[in-house]
Structure formats: structure tokens, C-alpha cells
Symmetry: C2
Subunit: 196 residues, 2 copies
Amino acid sequence: MDILLQRNAKGRLFVISGPSGVGKDTLIDRLIAQTDGIMRSVSATTRSPRANEVNGRDYHFVTHAAFARDIASNLFLEYEKYGENYYGTPVGPVKDNLQQGTDVILKIEVKGALNVRRQMPDARLIFIAPPSLDELERRLRFRDTDSADAVTTRMEIAQAELKQAMHYDYMVVNDVLDEALAQLRCIITAERVRVT
Amino acid sequence: MDILLQRNAKGRLFVISGPSGVGKDTLIDRLIAQTDGIMRSVSATTRSPRANEVNGRDYHFVTHAAFARDIASNLFLEYEKYGENYYGTPVGPVKDNLQQGTDVILKIEVKGALNVRRQMPDARLIFIAPPSLDELERRLRFRDTDSADAVTTRMEIAQAELKQAMHYDYMVVNDVLDEALAQLRCIITAERVRVT
């Protein structure tokens, strides 16, 4: 019954977006810890590492010159400039993992996510939403890594991003973490038994 | 944030097919027992009830005349004739439940399933497959409700149906029951957080 054996030969690409403070990293870390056959793509960036960030784990920290060379060599699946810095997804590791049958998770902004889907129409886009804008603001203030001005800016971006959620395949509301995680795991499981 | 509140207003229609003996009824019964907000559509048929079957639970057992009247009145979402008997899905309860936000499961043959999708393109089609044809044959013989000839016929139908699985949205292989059930539940969960 070849139809049964062949269908899972290639990996799937999952793209996760959502406003700052909604809990994307916690969800992705737990998802990967609990799930076989899935890995997270590490982005490249020209910004400086923060205190707790490790090169090659959190980001590939590169110079502007190196980033520009990689753009010219077409080595990014997508890249964007935010403020003074570039952020991009190196295409090589993503394609290699998918080819070997490993699922790949990208965490990227809405604009980058929609760009990825244009290039890889099989990508599944998952939006992580807060239960409400008030709750998102509360979490951002509680996190206390941003100034009050930065929180205001992040809230404006969040409202713009939420309007884009309709272009995603799935929307998970991160109200209770374990429930959101269970939904996220189910999306992966369901997509693995999807007929392509 | 209206986008979050409105998205689950209507129920979803799940259509489940798969060869005789693959375990569809067991899976559906357990799925419904473990899941809120989902019910099973009861088909109408002109065939006689078997010993353990209850009218209104397993099927609506009706006369040929009543079935013909309902066809004429356009009261079936789909219907088919198998052998001397008719089987059909009454459209009223399906639409009422979906309208009220309850998910509905239909268990129907491949031909009927593809007909349903033509009428309700949002329907999600799930194919339950055996781990192998040999294993399916073993289960049919073990079940011992069919003669050897009937098993041969069912196996021929199964091979034809498996070729149609590519037209379904999902394929769940029922090898270990609990794993197949978990996959089925995840499909329901994932579809509930799908952006429509």
C-alpha cells in the first residue's frame, strides 16, 4: 500500500507569528521539547546579541556585510529590515530538513510569513493571538523589558498584526498556556496526517 | 477583538469513510464520548435492523415509500443505493446542528462523501485506512460476521476505496486504536482553530 508509506516522506514547514508578548517562544520551546521530528529554524540577524542570547541557538549573529552578501547570493527564504537591522531566514537548513522529512518551525513577523507562503505554498501559517488586547498590554508591562513608550508602540503593531490573522491557516489563542500548547501540537499532528 | 469571538460561531461538518472492518464505529463512538460540541448524524435506511441495532440511534429505519418521498422532497444531503436498499443522510438535523455551532460527524461511503463535499465545500473528509490490506482481511475474518465470499467482496471494495483516499483531506491509519483516536481528535481540534 504505497499510498500509506510515501505520504510522510517530506517534512512540513510551519510558520508562527503573533504580537510581541503573546508567548510564542515559550509555546515553540515546549512544542519542540514534546514532539519528535520537528526543529526550529535559526534566523540570521545583524543586531547585537542580548545578554542571554547564544549565537547559533537564538540567532546567527552576523555583520551587515555578511548579511548583504547572503542577500546577493539568494541565501534567504525571506528577510526584512526592522529599524537599523536585518533579520532573515537562511534557506539552506530549512530545505535540507524538509527534504530529510523533518518538520521545520519558523518564527517570523507577519510580512515575512506571507512572503514565505508565496515561495512555499505548502507552508502552514499559525497565528498566536492574545485573549484580548488588554491582556496583551498587561503581559507586556509585566514582562518589564520595554519602556512605556515601547509598550505603546508594540500595542500599535499588535493591532495591525491581528488584522492580518485572517490570512493565516490557524489561529491559536494563548489564554491558558497548556491549552494553547495542546492546540498547537494538534495542528502539527493533523497536518502530518493531511493528504497532500 | 471580534475576529476572535466570531470565528467559532458555526459548526463544522466532518465526513468519515473507510473500508468495512477498519474500525470506524469504534473510533467515532470514542471520539464523541471524549469531545464536547460534536454529534453524529443518524442516517436513514430502507434495510431491516440487525439484532443489536436501535431505531433512531444506529439508523432511522424507514420504508421504501417513505424514503422515496424524502428523496422527492429533497430532504437528503446525499443518498445511495447499495444492493436492494437505500441509505441517506437527512439534511435537516445536519444543517440545524451546524447552525447552532455543533460539529457534526457523518459516516458514509466514499461516493457519498465526495457528493457531500460538492454540496458543502467546507466539509472535511477523513479517511480511516488499515495499516495494510492483509491486516484488514485478518480483521474482517476475525470479526466473523461475514461469509468467506463476503470477505472477498469487502476486500475488493476496500482496494477500490483506498484509491479514493487521495481525494480526502486527512488519512488516519488505524493501526493502534489509541493513536488513531488521538489523531482523529487532533484533526477536530485543529479544524476548530482553523481560520475560515
